[in-house]
């Protein structure tokens, strides 16, 4: 993958590592992580910090006979003792990123998505990622040359470029880049290049796009 220029803020990665992000945001972040070694490493750092914090938690006594109950639950199933050839397997195999790549939320290939037009040159596909906490996950497709109306974000928005490219006042965003936008940032991205720009976007509040041409602008406010 080419060099990624735009990354989530450290605070966002820290929220991800702490398990604080809603499902929509964690899908966007974890998809970025599959592409970005640097951020993956930061997340592991934050997980180590989480481990240090876990050790400071006030212990709550387990129920009486807990360990005996544990062995009963574990049954005779001994662990598979590692043969030395497996010694190099990753220890941290419970990462969130393994759990939630975008693929798990797409029932079809990106090229077969049923897009719903929301404005000329703009269409979207809402993904079912409202599993826990608020948050909406959607794919947005913008035709080259099309500019989204200027908008701000009611709360933070995470946008990951999947395909194509767009530019706005912040810079140029290409596949793998993630725009981690505060609520006070105003922008009007314009897709450019030869192909449609497809972005994966997590926002806080459910948002209904309207097909009516006269309401084109409104839906993008708070996108």
């Amino acid at each position: 993958m080419r060099n990624i220029r735009h990354h989530p803020k450290p605070e966002t990665l820290a929220e991800y590592a702490a398990g604080r992000l809603d499902e929509a945001r964690s899908v966007v972040v974890s998809t970025h992580l599959t592409l970005c070694k640097e951020c993956s490493r930061s997340v592991v750092d934050f997980e180590a910090l989480g481990g240090a914090c876990l050790e400071t938690v006030e212990p709550e006594a387990m129920q009486a006979g807990s360990l005996a109950a544990f062995w009963e639950r574990a049954g005779d199933q001994d662990i598979l003792v590692s043969p030395s050839m497996h010694g190099f397997e990753a220890a941290n195999d419970f990462s969130l990123s393994a759990a939630q790549p975008l693929g798990a939320y797409l029932d079809v290939d990106v090229d077969r998505i049923k897009w719903r037009a929301v404005a000329p040159g703009v269409s979207q596909h809402v993904l079912d990622a409202e599993g826990y906490r608020d948050g909406v996950l959607r794919l947005l497709k913008i035709a080259p040359g099309v500019q989204l109306p200027m908008h701000t974000h009611k709360r933070e928005e995470l946008t990951l470029i999947i395909r194509g490219a767009y530019r706005d006042a912040i810079g140029e965003f290409r596949p793998g880049d993630l725009a981690d936008l505060d609520d006070d940032i105003e922008h009007a991205p314009t897709a450019f290049g030869d192909e449609d720009c497809i972005c994966l976007i997590a926002t806080s509040a459910p948002l209904v796009f309207k097909d009516l041409i006269g309401k084109i602008v409104q839906p993008f406010v708070g996108l």
């Binding site: 910090l49 876990l54 662990i79 003792v81 590692s82 220890a91 969130l96 393994a98």
Partner: protein
């Protein structure tokens, strides 16, 4: 070489939410990683029992801070340790501390519990047991070193930052609720977190001091 660690573990148990004594706690962290390493290589049940006594009550505390009722937290803590036992062979003490690994397992179970509560039909076995790709040996060695540095940097944080970092990772409350509880503006909580993260990255040599 690890015999007698249960005693150290018991000392730790006395330390509650206050900041643990640094020396005891880091010594014990390494001891725990050694124990888990022993479980990984030989399936040592006695070693696992010591790990259980140390971590299960902490994981239960963590889950209760995340809003689980005591019974559920007890059950999920046991489930966390069950995953630790069953997946122990994947653990590599050179790569990560036991606490880090167990934290990620407990965190994922906490998320799954929240998700199940919101979406009862979801497959409870869905989460993420798929291994990550392998890492080169030099990266793994570096990882263990970073874990230690991160823990040391965390323990060296000024109290105010130490506290918000703890709450960030342990409490399942929005930053605004944490701010309210501490009687601080939300901006202060966020800036303390940022400062803490920056300080830790400096300790790691990721940023210029």
């Amino acid at each position: 070489m690890i015999r007698g660690r249960a005693v150290i573990g018991a000392e730790i148990l006395i330390v509650t939410s206050a900041r643990p004594n640094k020396n005891v706690s880091s010594g014990s962290s390494e001891a725990m990683s050694d124990l888990l390493g022993r479980v990984a290589t030989s399936g040592d049940r006695a070693a696992f029992g010591e790990l259980y006594d140390y971590f299960a009550p902490r994981v239960k505390g963590y889950l209760m801070r995340g809003g689980s009722p005591a019974d559920l937290a007890d059950d999920l803590a046991q489930e966390t340790m069950l995953k630790v036992w069953r997946k122990a062979r994947l653990y590599d003490p050179a790569k990560a501390g036991a606490a880090t690994w167990i934290f990620t397992i407990a965190r994922n179970l906490r998320i799954d519990a929240a998700r199940r509560a919101a979406k009862p039909t979801l497959d409870p076995d869905d989460p993420s047991l798929s291994p990550e790709g392998e890492q080169p040996a030099d990266e793994r060695m570096e990882r263990a070193d970073r874990d230690k540095k991160i823990k040391a940097a965390f323990e060296a944080l000024p109290e105010a930052q130490h506290e918000v970092v703890r709450l960030h990772f342990i409490e399942d409350a929005a930053h605004s609720e944490i701010a309210e509880r501490l009687g601080l503006p939300l901006g202060t909580v966020k800036s303390r977190l940022r400062l803490a993260f920056t300080k830790i990255r400096k300790e790691l040599g990721d940023l210029d001091a």
